[in-house]
Subunit: 203 residues, 3 copies
């Protein structure tokens, strides 16, 4: 089940990358690269930092197919993606929930301290977007809009608090992921009423 | 023989880095860094992604000597490099041909799927330039000019198609590399007649 | 003793990151990330290049506490940090001295050539700042102001020259580190009288 969620999350990340690359008027190759970077950049950095090589997405060809497929889809239907806006936002949000908890668990498996595990979870979920923004010559958007990363951090903290309760591993995984998703959803809804100081909106 | 080609390719990449760093009015240290990044950045990223450490260029001091030598040469003769323009372009093109196939073979050696091997080959040849452009605070030039990377991808595809024919390994290496070189040469010649939409020229 | 120096160096790097992030009007999360990147970015790149994973700072939670503590301190007292300007500069300078020699020794331990060891030492001391500047969408400041990195390179050269003299390892470590510190101090004092071509000042 998680595998299916991951596919949708990966696709949503890829499509968000395509949309940004199109705005920057990149060519086909550039668009594909930005799609990959957005999707797998966070997981790649996680794997490099904790020492998992070849990096995960390289050893499972499914990611490559999903990202290529989603990218071509997004390029072809680029003028109609507005209709999918809400779906994409939901997939993307579910994606960061999943990526965060997967990252936390991978960090635990190499014996890191909980604080650093939460950092790795957040990196997994957020740094694809950071590298994407760097390649697009922008200051990373998440450095100016706290809630995205904060949702991941809160999810990570939840994960470790739940360790002290008599709850099964799978449920901890799901609850921590849901915390990420809920915080982000609430943050976006809340933002509609309360724009931040710098006047950024959307994602 | 490949070793000698690699030396010339490495030098050509380094010199192209120096020229761009000079344009950005960097100091001596900055110029050397950009030369290194342009030369070995792609191979470094490849080694990190597939898990070869210490990264290759660090374990063979020849690269360091070649890059330092080529950089000092380029800085000293910076006003006369125009005469070498065609030679540099040729070395650079031969370099990406070689780097692409070397990258593909390294990726095969760790058991990656052909699609990801082609990606690794393309990363080896192109990402030094990407990191160079990021450090120079530009959107990477190859994201806006498709042919550079497309040549690498076509060379990588050729490599895998040739596996099905009764051809020896060394010839496959050479033919795939030549495909990269030819596609790029033809693309550049073709471009003279057909500038792209964004008005970029040169490399 | 080195450990205590490292704590102060790490804190000074973190605070310098915070100050730059504040100038860029980043939010809390962005500031923390820039603090981490400035502090541990160089060591992280070193560890990745030579193949030490999980990267060093991830396996010793002290770094995380020091960086978080220093960052919160710097954010709270951001309007009063001017009084600490000289102390911060000194900690930062001692930090690069220490980081350089630590980097050189780690590179020796994996058997690299002295030239590449010096490169690794310089990377350890300088590349946190490079990644920080890239994330802040600036051309890295050290590429335009030679002395910072030159100090590290001279310290690294000193380290290897001292190998030929009958001096104990710990003294070599200290002398090489002091060379970095002295060169940088002299460079800054010298700069007061001789601003460079591009009109940059400060760090």
């Amino acid at each position: 089940m998680f595998y299916i969620i991951e596919v949708f999350g990966t696709a949503a990340f890829a499509i968000s990358g395509v949309l940004i690359a199109l705005k920057k008027r990149m060519d086909f190759f550039g668009i594909i690269i930005i799609a990959f970077v957005t999707s797998v950049g966070g997981g790649t950095l996680r794997d490099l930092l904790i020492g998992v090589t070849p990096v995960s997405w390289m050893t499972d060809i499914l990611y490559t197919y999903v990202i290529l497929g989603a990218s071509v889809f997004a390029i072809v239907f680029r003028n109609k993606l507005n209709y999918l806006r809400t779906s994409l936002f939901l997939f993307d949000t579910i994606g960061i929930g999943l990526y965060t908890v997967v990252g936390v668990e991978r960090a635990i498996s190499v014996g890191l301290h909980p604080l650093n595990c939460i950092a790795i979870g957040t990196i997994t979920a957020c740094f694809g977007g950071v590298v994407r923004d760097v390649l697009c010559n922008e200051i990373p958007v998440i450095f100016r809009k706290e809630i995205y990363a904060t949702a991941c951090i809160l999810g990570g903290i939840t994960y470790f608090i739940l360790q002290y309760l008599p709850i099964e591993g799978d449920f901890i995984f799901i609850i921590a992921g849901l915390v990420v998703i809920l915080v982000r959803l609430l943050a976006v809804i809340f933002k509609i009423a309360l724009p931040n100081l710098y006047g950024n909106t959307g994602d």
